[in-house]
Amino acid sequence: MNLNTLAWRNLWRHKRRTLITASSIAFGVLLAVTFTGAGDYFYTRMIDAGANMGMGHISIMAPDYNRAPSSKKRLQQANQHKLAVEQLDNVKSVASRVQGQAMFASARKSIGGVFFAIDPEQENSDNNLFIKAMVEGEMLSSASGSSIVLGIELAKRLKLKIGKKVVYTTTDNRGDIVSAIARISGLFETGSDEIDGSVAVLPLHKVQQVLGYQKDEVSVLAVILSDQRHSDQLRDKMQAMAEFSDTEVLNWQQTQPDLAGMIAVDKSANRIGQLLIALLVAAGILNTMLMSVLERRHEFGVMIAVGMSPKNLFLLVMFESFWLAVLGLIIGVIVTTPWFLYMSQTGLDLTSAYGDDFSFGGVLIDPIFKLRLFSESIIAILIGLFGLTLLSGAYPAWQAGRVVPVESLKTL
C-alpha cells in the first residue's frame, strides 16, 4: 500500500478533526486574501492616484529640478525623450508638463498657488486627476489659447466665476517676473481644500510662450505605467540608457517620498498582522497533528514492529500534512472566492466614516475599501499556507518516527 493513499485514509478516520483543522487553514486563506488583497488594491490605487496628480510613475526632468524646483531648470528636447520613452514596454502614456508657482489675481484679491500646464490632447481623465475632477465648465480645449481651469476654492476666494479673467504672475526662464491673462473655462473639485484652493491648469504652449521656453522645453515628462510595480526596474533601465543621460529619471518614491513612506509603513503593519495570523494558524495545525501522532503511538509501534521504517512513518505523517494542506486550501478557495468577488467588484464604501477629504501620504483618494490580488500574490498566499502547514507537520512527523515499539505498546 502506498504511503500517500494511507495518509489520505488516515485523515478520514478522524473526519471531525480533519475538517476542523482544514477549516482553520481555510480561514487562514480568507484572512490572508483579505489582508493582502486590501493592500494590493489600496497601494496600487494610491500609487496610481499619486502618479496622476502630477509626476507620473516615473518622472523625467532636468537635473537637480526635484531637489530645488525653479523655472530656470527645464528639460530640453522633450519630444525626443518622449519618443524614446514610448518605445519602452509597460508605458501607458507620457505627458509633457510645465509647472511652477504663481500668483493668481482678480481685481479684488490675489492668491499664491501652483500651476500645471498641460496639453489636453496628451492627457485624459485616466492619467490626470484634474481632468477627472472637473465639476463645472470645460477642460482646456487646446494647448494654446488663453483658458485656465481653477480649483473651485481658488475661484471662490478670488471671487471669480466661469468666463471671468484671471491674471497670473510667475517667473520665467531667466528669473524675471512675467504676467499673462487667462479666462476661466472650467472648475475642478478634488475634495481637498488645499488643492482646490491653490492649483490651476493652463495650456502648455501658452505657458511655454509666457515663460520663454522653447516648444521643446518642459518641466517634466510624466510617464504613466500600466503596472506600477515595475517602476523601479524601468527607472533603472532608463537611467542607464544614453537617451536619458542629460536628464534625471526618478520614480514615484523619489518624487513623492511622503507617499512612499506611508505605504512602506502600512505594508509593514499589514505584514505584522499577517504574521500573527499565520502563527495562530500554525499553532492550530501543530496542535492537531501532534495530538494525532501522540495518540497513534500504539499504532505506530505496531507498524514499526511489523517492519515499517521510521523514515516511512515520518513520510506518512508528512503526507497527512500534505493532504490536510490540500484539503484546507480547497475549502479555503471555495469559501474565499465569493467574498473576494464581492469585495473586488463592489467593496465597502467608507466615505461616511472618512469623509471625502481623505488623503494618505499627501495623495487624495476615495475611501472605498476593496480587494485586488495580483497573480503573484495569489501564488504567494497559496504557497505560504501550504508551506506553513507542512512545516507545522514536521515536528509531529519527526515525533512519529522516533516512536520506540516497546514503549509505544505500553500506551493504550
Binding site: 500668483m103 481685481a107 488663453s146 491674471v167 517676473i177 491673462i181
Partner: protein, 258 residues
C-alpha cells in the same frame, strides 16, 4: 513708485493731447485721431526723463503714516526712487531697470529682487501694489481708449474717457474711466472697475499747482471702494522734466547710496 502716478498724470496728458484736435464729432475719424495721437504721444513719451519729490500719507484702520521720497525716471525702462523720511526708512530704495526690480533695504544692507510673491503685496503699506509699479509702462499698450462723455458735471466742464483693457492684456480691471477738465485738460478723477463693473478703487486729482512747467494736480488720493475710510495720498512737492540723467543712476550700486 511716484513714477506710476507720474504716468497716470502723463497718460492723462496724452489723452489731453489726443483731444486737443478733436473738434469733429465724427466717431470713426475720432478713433483714428485717438490712435494717431497716442502714437505721437508715445514718441513724445520716449526719451522723457523726470525728477520728483513726493510725500505719501497712508491712513488705514490701524495706523496713519507719512513718508517722503525722491524719484528719477528715464524713458519707460528706468526708474529709481529713494525714501528720505522718516529716518528709520531713509535710504530704502527701489530700482526698476528693464524687467528687473530690486529693492535695497538699508537696515539689513541687502538688496532683494522682486519676485512673484511680492507682486500683489501692498507697496510700502499703501493702497497700491508692487504690481501697479511694474505695470505702469504698459498702460497704453493694454487699453483701448474712447471718449464716453463731454459736457458739464458737478459744475465743471469735463471730458470723460473710458479705457477698456485689450483682450490679451494682463490686467485685472474690467474698465477704467478717466475724467479731465475740458479746458485745462488736467485730470480730475479716475475710477477702476472690476470685470463685473463694480467700482474697486478711486484715484482723485486735486490741488492744482504749477509743477514742471505747467498747471497740474499736486495731490493724488487713492481710495479703496471696500474701505472708504482708508486712503493713500501722494503730494507732489517738486517735479522737473527733461533733465540730464546719467544711466549709472539706474544701477544696482547706486541703489545703495544714502
Amino acid at each position: 513708485m511716484s513714477h506710476k502716478l507720474l504716468v497716470i498724470t502723463l497718460l492723462a496728458s496724452q489723452l489731453i493731447f489726443m483731444t486737443l484736435g478733436t473738434a469733429e464729432t465724427d466717431s470713426s475719424e475720432q478713433i483714428l485721431r485717438v490712435k494717431a495721437l497716442l502714437n505721437e504721444v508715445d514718441d513724445l513719451w520716449r526719451g522723457n526723463s523726470s525728477y520728483a519729490i513726493t510725500s505719501m500719507q497712508v491712513k488705514t484702520e490701524h495706523y496713519t503714516r507719512t513718508m517722503r521720497m525722491e524719484g528719477w525716471s528715464k524713458g519707460k525702462e528706468h526708474t529709481l526712487f529713494r525714501i528720505m523720511e522718516p529716518l528709520r526708512e531713509k535710504g530704502t530704495a527701489t530700482l526698476k531697470s528693464g524687467n528687473h526690480i530690486y529693492t535695497y533695504l538699508p537696515k539689513t544692507d541687502r538688496t532683494i529682487k522682486l519676485t512673484t510673491g511680492m507682486m500683489m503685496g501692498s507697496w510700502m503699506g499703501s493702497h497700491l501694489t508692487n504690481d501697479d509699479l511694474v505695470k505702469e509702462a504698459r498702460l497704453e499698450d493694454d487699453y483701448e481708449a474712447t471718449i464716453s462723455f463731454e459736457g458739464e458735471r458737478n459744475g465743471q466742464d469735463i471730458i470723460e474717457f473710458t479705457l477698456i483693457p485689450k483682450l490679451d492684456a494682463a490686467v485685472v480691471w474690467g474698465k477704467v474711466t478717466l475724467t479731465i477738465l475740458a479746458v485745462s485738460h488736467t485730470p480730475v478723477v479716475e475710477y477702476y472697475f472690476d470685470e463685473d463693473m463694480l467700482l474697486t478703487r478711486t484715484i482723485s486729482f486735486t490741488d492744482i499747482k504749477m509743477l514742471g512747467g505747467r498747471e497740474r494736480p499736486s495731490v493724488l488720493k487713492v481710495v479703496p471702494a471696500d474701505k472708504p475710510d482708508e486712503y493713500t495720498q501722494f503730494i507732489y512737492e517738486q517735479l522737473k522734466f527733461d533733465l540730464e540723467l546719467k544711466d549709472r543712476i539706474f544701477s544696482l550700486s547706486n541703489l545703495k547710496k544714502r
